[in-house]
Symmetry: C2
Subunit: 212 residues, 2 copies
Amino acid sequence: MRVLVPFDARRPKTRLSPVLSESERHAFAEGLLADVLAALAETPQEPTVLATAPVEVSVSVEIDERPLTQAVNAALSEADGPVAVVMADLGLVAPAALERLFDAGRVADVAIAPGIGGGTNALVVDHPDFRVDYHGVSYRDHRERARELGATVETVDSYRLSVDIDDPGDLPELLLHGKGEATAWLREAGFAITGAGERRIELERSETESGP
Amino acid sequence: MRVLVPFDARRPKTRLSPVLSESERHAFAEGLLADVLAALAETPQEPTVLATAPVEVSVSVEIDERPLTQAVNAALSEADGPVAVVMADLGLVAPAALERLFDAGRVADVAIAPGIGGGTNALVVDHPDFRVDYHGVSYRDHRERARELGATVETVDSYRLSVDIDDPGDLPELLLHGKGEATAWLREAGFAITGAGERRIELERSETESGP
């Protein structure tokens, strides 16, 4: 199975700009990518990073400067067999969740791990005509597209695949459940869970002498 | 396995008061409870609703007027074997996710399905001294308590168990993935997904002639 990890190496994690500077966003995004690759390394699959610019990782990198949807669709159109697409910001991803994704991809034409908020955080496509569109409520749109094609769909029920670290409200999940580089980076940058008002978590950033 | 579904029949879903009236919150909460009971009905377990006041359901009901934590701990202290506690507002729960919870409860002293935001949405306790505390970041606290007791812990990785329908921001998840009574109620009450700004969903409530 071809496994792609799309990564925006140019302007990563812009929605974290309220809490992280540009250089911090680069460092944090690279931590998330490293965590995703580390989880993939514990599966039998060998991923390729599909990046908008060169990035230093231990796996192969293909450069495609186009936006996410176009770059992934180009890869799908060239594919000769199943293709998995795993987002680079799934900071909680674990090998077992990825195995469930790959297993679902073996039994269905399209396997989708939905993200909180209606995104498509990971999918496996094994249908020649299926194309992605990551804009809008892509989980719903991808199901609809599969239905139009008569393609079978499996949904992967994973909390770890459902959390993409996209905006400040996602950071508490990482602090609570994460164990990788991005989580360590975040702690070193001064972020911590301070408690919970009602049942939601409050996030606090303390002063650090210098960034991590 | 004893399976408890705690339900606040008096003041349910107060955090939805920005978008639902009191009588609507009662109707919606009963829809969520019905959906949880319907999912449990497709497992081999027979649940008991642990309610603060009488409620009409098709399973047995035990009345305990005390707050959630105290009522659950009273049940745990009287237990003679494993006890599962499944929240009544898990509107996306499905039998397969519950089976995974029960399976985890069979191999560990404490099995926990974390909620988004650090809550404990479902757990199975098979340890005489473990007690719950649903206040604050209970997922973290329950893990810590298990560690102190030397109890083994399994975490259940399920998106469907991670989503509790607690505040207005949770409603889109239900509209996207739900299939039960609560989802139907919500649609009839005029709620719909209108699209997505960036990648998050926007929720809209249209005027309806009368409430559902």
